[in-house]
Subunit: 310 residues, 2 copies
């Protein structure tokens, strides 16, 4: 399995993760790093480590940028975007089976004049398809029905047709046999006393499920993630960003990954940022958990798919 | 320390908890159960257990009602309300140091013509004071700035003066030396791109804190409860119900309790409902964790207060 790895912002912890995680990745896939040999060598020198001999690189179609630890720069923004788009291209051309993205810095992208808020946003535009953001780990995955919008816009975004469509795609992509769908209001509206959006959610669940018993809900949000409920569900659909991600990150912060569903390519990502504050610092330890989980998830999906094709 | 225990809905798990938890409670306080001896005897017979010899009761000022396991009834609703108000009275008259309430059933209260949504709502009205709802356990407490309102009403409820007042009272009541205040929007508004209520929250924090460094925020909601953040904060203020309670219950469901702050009496409660589905069933185990934690919390607060008075 060939895994394209975009390097992320060179001034953050992306290069260190790629270098330190290489051996573990090699155990189950063939990583292909979208970075100039010169740049990764510079990063390795700053980190005081060696670039592994079998560290396969594929340079993005731009000049390498200097590494300036912890700095927000337009060059680094442009470089991380080029690395990312190169990875997308390799997947489209069948030269890689999946893309693992290391963290970019949003302000660096802005400085470089890149008009996307992040990877997912860019992927939506590249493919003109409604990518679904799912975060989690093998114990708990949460799909986000709404994502980066102000909380005050969330209630009106709960529309039946859009939700039916979302639920169907989420099921199709995850192949989950049981999916918990959260309500919107405290106590899931408590029979209408605390909000009425649950009627829309109920109707959407009924239509997407068609009596098959795959979808359950609207679940009472504050008790949806208790230990007893997590025995019943591994896959959840949250109505908004923090509803799903706060419980997920309270429970499984280090091991969580980010998966883009409903796209022509398989893209996974670490669930953390560039961590400029600890980048290239000898006194800081960088967790590889999310990175390795993301790579493993991609490897499993690819092998399941090729198994299904046979 | 004398602890008044209101019995909750007699058809739920309240009487079983009082009976089964008695010996453990006796180890650190003097419980006084607000229930007729005849009613608790009936409950004990149904449960096939004995009423302990030193089970002190103080009958509410109403007739005892029959116990009908798992049934919603007006009589049971009226009885649980009478038991509760009796407990409030004992605390007001100094005959008890704190009140521990066992769960009531909201619909049973409605059937009995009681116009309150629950204990906290009633306490607000009795004392004409803005009770603060705090839930949690010794590892993590969350105060709720807004509670039982539809999510769509939450953003406009974030008003500076009300929040300043809430923060001051929360600090005064908890004596916490560090309090994390959550933002409202994803990524705490991300500099205004994802909502602007964080500016109000920021201003309220600045005013309540006055440069003392007690309050911190607005915290990014989805990462406020990660293990690293929980090392920094034990006390949090959430802007809305599920923002605070979903992470809390994901982490510490069984041991969580409910505390009413900012009232002339000290009132604690279990953080679960009447559990009609398992009430009086020999094949079901009832967790006493939340009950015992609530009693212990009350005992500690009372002893801290009397220590301060000396």
């Amino acid at each position: 399995m060939k895994l394209a790895v975009s390097i992320g912002d060179p001034n953050g912890i992306g290069p260190a993760i790629a270098l330190l995680g290489h051996e573990k990745l090699r155990a189950f896939c063939r990583p292909l790093y979208l970075v100039h040999p010169k740049l990764i060598q510079h990063a390795a020198d700053l980190l005081g480590i060696k670039v592994p001999d079998d560290f396969d690189t594929h340079a993005p179609s731009c000049a390498p940028c200097p590494v300036t630890p912890g700095q927000i720069s337009a060059e680094a923004g442009a470089y991380s975007f080029a690395s990312f788009t190169q990875g997308v291209r390799l997947c489209q051309e069948g030269l890689a089976d999946a893309l693992l993205t290391l963290p970019i810095h949003k302000t660096a992208w802005q400085k470089a004049g890149i008009g996307y808020k992040g990877h997912t946003d860019a992927l939506r535009d590249f493919f003109k398809q409604e990518a679904i953001m799912m975060l989690g780990c093998e114990k708990l995955f949460v799909g986000l029905f709404t994502e980066h919008i102000p909380l005050r816009h969330v209630p009106k975004a709960v529309e039946k047709e859009r939700l039916v469509d979302f639920l169907k795609r989420f099921e199709e992509e995850t192949k989950a046999r049981k999916i918990g769908v959260l309500g919107l209001n405290p106590h899931a509206g408590d029979g209408g006393v605390l909000g009425s959006e649950e009627r829309i959610i109920e109707a959407a669940i009924a239509e997407a499920d068609g009596g098959r018993g795959v979808f359950e809900g609207p679940l009472v949000p504050d008790v949806a993630f208790t230990p007893a409920m997590r025995k019943r569900f591994t896959y959840y659909v949250a109505m908004y960003h923090d509803q799903g991600l706060a419980p997920l990150k309270a429970l499984y912060f280090d091991e969580s990954i980010n998966v883009s569903l409903n796209l022509p390519i398989l893209r996974v990502s670490v669930d953390h940022g560039t961590a400029f504050d600890i980048a290239y610092r000898a006194d800081q330890t960088i967790s590889l958990q999310s990175y390795l989980q993301a790579a493993r998830y991609a490897a499993e999906k690819v092998s399941a798919k090729s198994g299904a094709r046979r």
